[in-house]
């Protein structure tokens, strides 16, 4: 288990150091952010809004076929890209500016 923890930390650190990444937020299944690299207000905003979106997206996918599940969600906007990888209990949000 401790190696797993270190591995996770290492992976998150690598993502943070990737080109163009602005921030990472880890949110639990209730929409409460657990870990973040952004400031408080942005974190809360992202967590709340994206949580609803992920729930909706997942519900949509599973309604069509219950054996299917959402793997990831990408929202590309003019200024940046929000990438969300959902899990059973958590989901991870990364905001990246791909054109940097």
């Amino acid at each position: 288990m401790p190696t797993n923890y270190a591995e996770v930390e290492e992976t998150l650190r690598r993502i943070q150091s990737q080109k163009g990444v602005q921030g990472i937020v880890i949110v639990n299944s209730e929409g409460i952010p657990i870990k973040t690299t952004l400031d408080n207000s942005s974190t809360v905003q992202y967590a709340g809004l994206i949580h609803q979106l992920v729930m909706k997206a997942r519900s949509t996918v599973r309604d069509i076929d219950p054996q299917n599940d959402l793997t990831f969600l990408r929202i590309r906007s003019k200024k940046n890209e929000i990438m969300i990888a959902p899990d059973k209990d958590y989901f991870l949000i990364v905001i990246q500016n791909p054109s940097d």
Binding site: T3, I15, S59, R62, A85, Q96
Partner: protein, 688 residues
């Protein structure tokens, strides 16, 4: 006014004098007459008022009839009503003639009426007989009551009387009235001390409530069903397993530990996915190239091709050279890189690293090893098993599914490890006991078969390499054969027992697994060590050997001399057949170039010769083709792996007579090769 009286009175008094006939005057006259009659005794002449009507004698005698009717003189006699039926005004014939002089509403009740009964019931007086003061009462009662019989009046009187002494009468019914002394009666009362009333109430804490809302979706129902089936299966297992209490305790402990570290470790999988997504974004153009780019300029290049550089995989922590490359057959984006050192003097640790094309920044799996890796092979069917050969002579098997950095199996000095570096390992089909096994060749001259039996590696010497060919193991050996180190080997794709071994001195032996003492054939191939020897994927007879003597030679194993020889101007590190064509192969040399050959297109020259790495000192060490995608990976001695995409010219499939694509089967490849060989067997063998 009584008219007839008037006339009679008048007629009687005709004699006396003129009598007024008018009504008004009649009353006066009567009075006067009465007055007169009273005064008759006085015997005076009647006094005539001054305004009396003067009438003649004839008029005085006139009889005027007066009728007495019961009509109401004030009742209207000409009421006209509009009749809607006849749509005109009609006079009503009948008019009410009643004249009401006086009305008074009384409050007497009939004794048998409902209201009277109710009142009586209220007062509780039944059959009360009291002395009725009959005379006093009727006077007090109103005389004008609408049609009440005398009895009723009496009854009413009774009730009326009852009303007055009501309180007294009621008390007589119940108890003796209190007789109070008028003189010194004093009433005393006392009040008891009443306990003050207290209101005691208790409020309980409301049970904790949680508002719950949810949507019943199809997938939620599905999830619940899945959970239920899991629970049922677990219950079945529990019933089968024996001690339950111990399990619970251990489970509780496990749960505690898990919850502490669970929070962040569960994020591992999404974190990995996200890392890949980030990388995809960053290397977006590379990914697009990989998938879709086809070099159009190849049409103008006259059969030459190019290699488009894609991702670079570099693990900074390892300052080693890439010594082995292998693609994973099952997950075609995963490849293994073995790192070590070819330098005899600089032997140190090694590393086994797995990369995925989806994430070029960081390896998927990292296994540090104590000794440099020289070769590796991934099992074709069980792609989680990796066989590795080390510089110190050990072989090991790693299981990617297991957690931990140690190999699952490792050979030691006891279990027959090689005494010299292991140059090549290769998995074989499972043996008859369904155990996995692989072969290794080493500089100590042995080709060894290792079998994974339960937890051990069991080795079997297959053959010993010697210069003289035949090796006799028995004590009858006349002279000690000179052992020759093997540097590479390859097993035939279809013929299971047949394999080739390349040696340090440049010879290639064709051997069979069945014969451990003799070689089937010996080829004098090269002047220096044979770095690699590989069978053609399609054609059963063709193989290639490459060597540090700068040459690549193509052989037909039935013929003792090579069919093709290519001189590449630099030591050839490695080469690989392409999986899609029988005539295409690629080789890397130490001068940083990759050479791609297609024999069906050009028998003499390479289709592509391209420097792949920028730094001048790097040497390319290994090359491998991806089984499905048109890319190759090239390893160098700076621990960097470069991936390159083959341009269309290098991927040509043979076209049929009518310019149609022939079906891509191994038969066509074989046919292609056969064609080549036939050309060679004809008079002019081409050599460069």
């Amino acid at each position: 006014m009584p008219m007839p009286n008037n006339t009679t009175a008048a007629s009687t008094r005709k004699q006396k004098g003129a009598g007024a006939k008018s009504t008004k005057a009649a009353s006066r006259k009567k009075d006067e007459e009465e007055g007169v009659e009273m005064v008759d005794g006085l015997d005076e002449a009647p006094v005539k008022p001054k305004d009396q009507l003067e009438l003649s004698e004839a008029e005085l005698k006139e009889e005027i009839t007066r009728i007495l009717t019961a009509n109401n003189p004030f009742a209207p006699q000409n009421i006209v009503r509009y009749s809607f039926k006849e749509r005109s005004y009609k006079s009503t014939s009948v008019v009410d003639q009643m004249a009401v002089h006086f009305v008074l509403e009384g409050n007497l009740l009939h004794q048998d009426s409902d209201e009277a009964r109710r009142l009586r019931a209220k007062e509780g007086l039944f059959e009360e007989t009291t002395v009725v003061d009959a005379e006093a009462e009727p006077e007090e009662e109103e005389p004008e009551t609408p049609a009440t019989p005398v009895e009723d009046g009496g009854d009413m009187e009774e009730t009326g009387e009852d009303d007055r002494p009501d309180s007294v009468a009621s008390k007589t019914d119940k108890k003796e009235p209190k007789l109070t002394n008028q003189f010194n009666f004093s009433e005393r009362a006392s009040q008891t001390l009443n306990n003050s009333l207290r209101d005691r109430c208790c409020q309980t804490e409301p049970p904790p409530r949680v508002t719950f809302s949810d949507t019943a979706n199809q997938w939620k129902t599905y999830d619940m069903y899945e959970m239920e089936t899991e629970k049922q299966e677990k219950n079945k297992d529990k019933q089968n397993a024996t001690p339950k209490k111990e399990n619970d305790n251990s489970k509780k402990k496990m749960m505690l530990i898990e919850t502490q570290s669970d929070t962040i470790t569960k994020v591992l999988k999404p974190a990995k996915i996200l890392e890949r997504m980030c990388n995809q974004n960053i290397c977006d153009d590379i990914a697009q190239d990989f998938k879709y780019f086809e070099d159009v300029s190849d049409e103008f290049r006259d059969q030459k091709g190019t290699l488009l550089p894609l991702w670079k995989f570099h693990y900074e922590k390892a300052k080693l050279s890439v010594t082995a490359l292998c693609w994973n057959k099952k997950y075609q984006d995963l490849f293994a890189v073995g790192m070590g050192s070819y330098d005899f003097s600089k032997q140190g640790h090694g590393m086994l690293v797995f990369y995925s094309l989806k994430n070029s920044a960081f390896p998927e799996y990292i296994y540090p090893t104590s000794s440099g890796i020289l070769c590796l092979d991934i099992h074709e069917l069980h792609s989680h098993l990796v066989a590795v050969g080390f510089y110190d002579g050990c072989v090991a098997v790693y299981n990617l599914k297991e957690e931990g950095q140690e190999p699952v199996y490792k050979s030691t000095a006891k279990t027959g490890k090689h005494t010299d570096p292991v140059w090549q390992v290769q998995w074989q089909n499972d043996d008859m006991d369904n155990n996995h096994n692989f072969y290794s060749v080493s500089s100590d001259g042995r080709v060894v078969s290792w079998t994974l039996v339960k937890n051990e590696l069991v080795f079997t010497d297959i053959i010993r390499l010697s210069l003289n060919g035949a090796v006799s193991e028995g004590p009858e050996a006349v002279h000690e054969p000179i052992v020759v180190g093997g540097t590479s080997f390859d097993f035939h794709k279809h013929i299971d027992y047949l394999f080739l071994v390349g040696t340090e001195v440049g010879q290639i032996y064709k051997c069979s697994k069945a014969y451990s003492t003799q070689f089937l054939e010996t080829y004098e191939a090269h002047s220096m060590a044979v770095d690699a020897v590989k069978w053609n994927h399609f054609h059963p007879k063709v193989f290639i050997s490459c060597s540090s003597d700068w040459t690549i030679k193509i052989w037909d194993h039935t013929i003792n001399s090579p069919m093709f020889t290519f001189d590449l101007n630099s030591a050839v590190g490695d080469f690989a057949w392409s999986p899609y064509s029988s005539t295409v192969f690629a080789a890397v040399t130490t001068d940083r170039t990759v050479h791609v050959f297609d024999l069906s297109v050009n028998k003499d020259q390479a289709l592509c010769q391209q420097t792949v790495v920028s730094k001048k000192k790097t040497k390319l060490t290994h090359i491998d083709f991806n089984p499905v995608y048109p890319i190759i990976i090239v390893g160098d001695d700076q621990s960097c792996v470069t991936s390159l995409k083959l341009s269309p010219n290098l991927r040509r499939t043979p076209k049929g007579k009518k310019r149609q694509e022939l079906p891509k089967g191994p038969e066509t490849e074989v046919a292609k090769m056969e064609q080549l060989l036939r050309l060679l067997r004809e008079p002019d063998p081409t050599t460069v």
